[in-house]
């Protein structure tokens, strides 16, 4: 049974005019419970918009999003979000950042239970030694781990990751991929990963869906990743299935890229927007 269903989702930032500012067009997506789905796409193709629709920060212009067969209304603790830029609160320590989520998600817990839960999750992401440090004292990878802990501590049924490792170096990235997979395999939550890295998607996901570049982005055909878990990163490079799927996806994306490039001679009318001038407001 699908835990998340997107039906004919369109998102436009300027709904008054039919085609202008339309970011997403006719998106249909089903995610099964316990599944790890990756959406890959070029930067600027509307990935973050899609994520914000699913986590409830934005509302679609048309279409419905069902989570456990119920239309979603705003954000929810059942869907944990890991943002691209960590979004930790810089005036709180690691402990306090995670504690804020715990207090909101489990208000009925006693102080001691909350404290134990916070410590358990911080330990899970391997940051016990830095639990009382501030985000600015941590490296990028460590910050993203805090962000992971903060999302998971609420015990969400689904984790939504918006290019979580995009700002990290290759080595840290690899380590964190392993850790996220390990945590995911522990209790098999549903996971949605948005990324621009095909290898990352292949390594982590069960199913990969390319997002055609915007404006009017829509989802392409899905690619199943039939590689047994746990996957071994070094062995993966010689795996025929891996090579085959990888080539197929890259070929598809390249074709899309060329298509967009050849289309770009068409004249686009720019939206009639003016930047807001804050200078005279005060």
């Amino acid at each position: 049974m699908a835990i998340l269903e997107l039906k004919n989702i369109c998102k436009s930032y300027n709904p008054a005019k039919e085609y202008e500012g339309q970011v997403l067009d006719n998106i249909n997506l089903n995610i099964e419970e316990g599944e790890f789905v990756a959406i890959v796409g070029f930067s600027g193709s509307g990935k973050t918009t899609l994520v914000n629709l699913i986590n409830g920060l934005h509302e679609p212009t048309s279409g419905t999003i069902l989570f456990k067969n119920k239309p979603i209304e705003g954000t929810s603790h059942e869907r944990g979000v890991i943002f691209q830029n960590y979004s930790l609160l810089p005036w709180l320590t690691v402990y306090q950042n995670v504690a804020m989520a715990v207090r909101e998600a489990f208000p009925k817990m006693t102080k001691k239970e909350q404290d134990e839960r916070i410590k358990k999750y911080v330990e899970m992401v391997g940051l016990s030694h830095a639990i009382h440090k501030y985000p600015k004292e941590l490296s990028g990878g460590m910050r993203q781990r805090v962000s992971v802990a903060r999302a998971l501590v609420m015990d969400p049924e689904m984790i939504i990751m918006d290019e979580p490792l995009g700002a990290l170096d290759a080595l840290t990235r690899g380590n964190l991929q392993d850790e996220i997979l390990k945590i995911w395999e522990l209790n098999k939550r549903t996971a949605l990963l948005i990324t621009n890295d095909v290898d990352e998607a292949l390594y982590m996901a069960d199913r990969i869906i390319p997002l055609k570049p915007g404006p009017r982005a829509t989802l392409g055909p899905e690619f199943k990743v039939n590689i047994a878990r746990p996957r071994d990163k070094t062995a993966l490079n010689d795996d025929d299935e891996f090579k085959h799927t990888r080539n197929a996806i890259i070929e598809y994306l390249m074709d899309l890229g060329n298509e967009v490039a050849s289309q770009s001679e068409a004249i686009y009318e720019l939206p009639d927007l003016e930047p807001k001038d804050l200078r005279w407001e005060f």
């Binding site: 603790h77 609160l89 810089p90 005036w91 998600a105």
Partner: protein, 365 residues
């Protein structure tokens, strides 16, 4: 140990002492010697240059004023009187000194005099208190008001009164501007509907605020016999100075980083939690910048307001000195000027220190 000392110095705003401490402990002598020259010796040299220029300026003004004075005496009272005045001037007799910009040494003399005056008055006060102690006790037992010292306040007393007024005004400004700023920052509709009030009242001069407050307080305070001058001056100071905090708070609250707001939404924080855990800490640097401006504006307008409201303090001290025209009045006014400047500087440093203590944005200057 050394690093700890340097850290303390930096905390209290004496970071420029760092190279000197390092030089004294023989750490990278060459580099630190250069730093000492740059950060300690050069500023001290500039102080001496300033005093030198002042001395030169006051000398030439003195000469001009003296020549004019002798000339007019000659015309009005004849050659003999002029000669007498010249001799008197050269002898350094205070009563025939020309009235002009005093020299640094005169100002320093006035400073010592004010200090001595303060010591005398303080001793006087203490003696008075001892003398009336038993009497006041018996008066209190009878339910009468105690006898208090009503003599002339010393210069230091005036400073303390001014500080009290500015502090009360600052607190008033803070308790009005920060909550209103938060409410307006959170609510764009309210903000745009009230914006005109801010725009109109922000540039109003301290004098006008004083008169407005005077009109209101005078009537409200009709039935009480308490002295309303303190009330009037601190309320005016608060009203003049609160605008910087108000505008900065609105700005800070309404432009909180969208990422933080998204976090608050995703965690489903309630409105109170959202304000106190996310919005306030995020806008604290801007609020504090506003508070710093408010404090310095408060200190600046205080002098003008005290001067007009006839409430005791540095402002009225300056005004009285200007009015009484004694020999050393000008020097005393300059002493007051330096004291005002130094206290203003110290207040700003204190605010910066508090800001660094409680704000996450440690890089703020």
């Amino acid at each position: 140990m050394k690093e700890a000392i340097i850290k303390v110095f930096k905390k209290i705003g004496l970071g420029f002492m760092e190279p000197l401490i390092r030089l004294l402990t023989n750490e990278e002598p060459k580099k630190n010697f250069k730093e000492v020259l740059k950060r300690i010796v050069a500023p001290i040299a500039s102080i001496f240059i300033f005093i030198g220029l002042w001395q030169m300026g006051s000398n030439s003004l003195y000469e001009k004023e003296a020549a004019y004075k002798i000339e007019t005496t000659k015309i009005n009272q004849g050659e003999e009187a002029a000669q007498k005045l010249k001799v008197c001037m050269e002898s350094g007799e205070p009563k025939c000194q020309p009235n002009t910009l005093p020299s640094p040494s005169q100002v320093f003399g006035a400073y010592k005099k004010l200090l001595a005056d303060h010591k005398r008055i303080a001793a006087d006060k203490k003696a008075f208190k001892e003398k009336t102690a038993t009497l006041n006790e018996s008066r209190e037992a009878q339910g009468l008001k105690p006898i208090v010292y009503t003599g002339r306040p010393s210069f230091v007393d005036q400073i303390l009164t001014s500080l009290k007024t500015v502090f009360a005004g600052f607190l008033l400004a803070m308790f009005i501007a920060v909550p209103i700023g938060i409410i307006l920052g959170l609510n764009p509709t309210l903000r745009s509907s009230i914006n005109w009030i801010i725009q109109i009242f922000k540039p109003v001069s301290p004098v006008v605020w004083l008169l407005l407050v005077f009109m209101i307080v005078k009537t409200m305070n009709k039935n009480s016999d308490s002295d309303s001058s303190f009330l009037i001056s601190f309320i005016s100071v608060g009203l003049c100075a609160m605008w910087a905090t108000l505008v900065n708070t609105i700005m800070g609250v309404s432009t909180v980083d969208k990422d933080y707001i998204n976090v608050a939404k995703v965690l489903k924080l309630g409105p109170v939690q959202k304000i106190f855990k996310v919005i306030l800490p995020a806008s604290l640097p801007l609020i504090f910048t506003g508070l710093r401006i408010t404090l310095s504006v408060a200190w600046m307008v205080l002098i003008a307001i005290e001067l007009l409201a006839q409430s005791p303090g540095l402002g009225s001290f300056v005004w009285e000195e200007f009015q009484n025209g004694a020999m050393d009045s000008n020097s005393k006014i300059l002493v007051a000027m330096f004291v005002i400047g130094l206290i203003g500087f110290a207040l700003d440093r204190i605010m910066l220190f508090i800001q660094k203590m409680i704000s996450f944005d440690k890089g703020a200057m």
